[in-house]
Amino acid sequence: STVLRFADYGPNRGVRAEAMEWMASELEKRSDAEIKIDFYWGGSLVGGRDTLTAIESGVADAGTVVGFFTPQQLQAYNIGDLPVENSDMWVGMRAIHDLSKNSETLQEEFEKSGVVYLTNFTSGPVQLICRSEVNSLEDIKNLKIRASGPYADTLETLGAEVISMSQADVYQALDSGLLDCNQNYYYSIDAYRQYEVAPYILEMDWGQNLSFGIFANKFSYNSLNEHNKNVVNETSEDFIDHFYKSLKNSNESAKRKFQEDESINISYLSEEDKALLNESSKLSINEWKGRLESNGVDAEHFLEEYYTLIDNYKIEKTKVE
């Protein structure tokens, strides 16, 4: 049997870890125990920033890759982090999965990085958690917000003061008032317990981080026999539905918990504000497009492919439901 080293930057708890454990047990079951996974949690093998390189060089056979860390090597895959109008988790994951499997641009990019794309995560839609009451985009003006990537750029154009800070400092910074708000997601607000020090949640349901997937070492993947390659491919595809269901559950139960807790306040963005948010997001989308085009990629066409997939899956989802 083959034992594969899997590197993940996060803890072995929570919804992501459970989904990965599920994937490992499915792989073992479906391959008749020919594929086994050894997890290295919490960056105990390599940190999140270095996972792509670690997979390429064979330090890890597979691992969780966050595209934000490699804006150059995974420039096109960073399409998943753009704040496009797409906050449905299933639609988003399906779209980026199909794009990663089929688009030539991405296939070339992964080939160049020496890795094989297996499947995708999502952070879920972006929310804001704050120390004081925040109900609208007007309210975030001049607030000190920790945010990242294109979301940070957009918040900045909306008048917020974006602060960079290491994740380890965030809890204390929210507590002391150094930060007013943090960009976060329902399940992770719960996991990191930031509601203890910042009891106001603004539900923005804004885009999601989809440049966030599971990749494998090319050699390790190619060493599998045809049957086991199929097992890996099928399990990877099923992973999306499985992860979607458990993430949806944990987001909902986190939200329910916050709603029931009287000390925590959830407010919702108005329709006008949502429109304004999406309008402002276009700036950072265009900036990404510019970078891609300067590297000779037809960004317009690539983005079209992505939008088409999103629209198709939106329709498919309404059919299923």
Binding site: T70, Q73, I163
Partner: protein, 169 residues
């Protein structure tokens, strides 16, 4: 460390090593200035130095790696001397040779690894997302420089101590 320091005198750091020490001092105060400036400007209004966390990370590489050659020359590496205190001079020189050999193995592998890492960072042209989009290779380059000078000094020390052992001084 006490005893061997009394027996084996530190070597005189060369100009390059003294220069690198000075650069490291500048980088050290640079970190303090960047962070303090941003704390004050953030308190009054907005932080004025972009990508402060990323800049501090780059400076950390200089602060840590650049003095390594010099502290090797001055024999400032920390070791456990409980079991070897009773040895005579000759015994201590033999231990010093063991020390250099083990050090050379580590430093050779580390230098090899660092050179690979630097060329990889160069070939991918990766950068840290931010206002300045700092290229990743810069830090890896500085890291490699620090290690190469360290390795070079360690080799000199090994030759120096080996000769002195042969001379039986």
């Amino acid at each position: 460390m006490g005893n061997i320091e009394l027996n084996l005198p530190p070597a005189q750091p060369n100009r390059a090593e003294l220069f690198m020490l000075n650069i490291s001092v500048i980088a050290f105060y640079g970190m303090a200035i960047i962070v303090t400036t941003n704390v004050i400007s953030r308190w009054i209004g907005r932080p004025i130095i972009p990508d402060d966390i990323l800049l501090v990370q780059e400076l950390m590489v200089i602060v840590i790696m650049f003095p390594l050659a010099l502290i090797t020359a001055c024999r400032l590496h920390i070791s456990v001397d409980v079991f070897t205190e009773g040895l005579d001079k000759k015994g201590k020189k033999i231990l010093a040779l063991l020390e250099h050999s083990v050090g050379l193995i580590f430093l050779f592998l580390l230098a090899w690894a660092a050179t690979n890492g630097m060329s990889k960072a160069w070939s991918t042209q990766e950068y840290y997302s931010g206002v300045l989009d700092i290229p990743v290779w810069i830090g890896h380059f500085l890291f490699t420089i620090g290690i190469l000078f360290f390795l070079f000094r360690l080799a000199i020390m090994a030759v120096y101590d080996f000769r002195s052992l042969l001379r039986g001084v």
